[in-house]
Symmetry: C2
Subunit: 168 residues, 2 copies
């Protein structure tokens, strides 16, 4: 069996994905399911994922929905007759990150920024320390928002190049 080292290597990487999933606020099962799909040549249905991961059908159903919503996997409805739903992994990690930046990070920054701006607007002009603190905060958030907006339009290579070639 010369397949074994491959299986071992794959398992290691998938375990690492489980761990990463937790860091990014997802469940371990999400990491494993993504990992299995990442290495699958063919799209996988829910029963197949049940076999390959050991998780219950209901878990697979729920987690795939979440993963699809976030954009880590894609749902291909019924290829070739059967009513089976098929899932594929999005393998371009950078695309995923761009999505996360645009959908979540940007949104989070945006709402925070709006709250800060509203608070600032309600304040009389001479309100001492509070005004200063809030102003400072707003400026930082404006910078961050701009940076994320710009970065999420770059490819990985461009981003790396932009940082490497920048001369202070």
């Amino acid at each position: 069996m010369s397949e074994e080292p491959r299986a071992v290597a794959r398992e290691r990487v998938i375990e690492s994905m489980e761990q990463s999933a937790e860091v990014y606020g997802l469940s371990r099962s999400a990491g494993r399911i993504y990992g299995v799909l990442y290495f699958s040549e063919e799209p996988r249905s829910i029963p197949e994922l049940v076999d390959e991961t050991g998780y219950a059908k209901s878990t697979i159903s729920n987690v795939t929905r979440t993963l699809a919503r976030i954009g880590l996997i894609r749902r291909r409805s019924s290829e070739g007759g059967g009513r089976r739903v098929q899932y594929t992994a999005e393998r371009e990690i950078w695309f995923i990150l761009q999505d996360v930046f645009q959908q979540y990070v940007q949104r989070e920054l945006q709402t925070t920024l709006r709250t800060i701006q509203r608070a600032e607007a309600q304040l009389p002009d001479d309100s001492g320390a509070e005004t200063e603190r809030i102003e400072e905060l707003r400026e930082t958030y404006e910078d961050l928002q701009e940076i994320v907006a710009l970065a999420s339009d770059f490819t990985v290579g461009e981003l790396r190049d932009a940082l490497e070639s920048y001369d202070r």
Copy 2:
């Protein structure tokens, strides 16, 4: 009482910080404690934080330890006689983010990358699909690591400028 609008504005921003704390994997109490310290002119002791936040002493004690470890607040042991421990907020958000990048994101990327590299090394040269997938993954992680390493050496302004002025 012309202080009220200031108190309201401050409260709004602190509530927003509570929410952000949850997003970043901290507790709501951590957000509020940081918020109160963020707006405090003077350093605050644990009993003072108990008064101003309404949380139990033990909660303040535990959360301040966590916040100090991460670098969001600083611990000044006993200024002016008393044995009181004093806390101040680190107000430069970008410094905090740089710390987080270097301490946590970099580390997480590093360990993942090492796992990938080890898996790749154990694989025979001709192992088909697995090799290709793992190689692809490794390259992405190398890029990401490089980007984070570079970015965490920039100031906010430099980073923004680098992205804005990059010409594709």
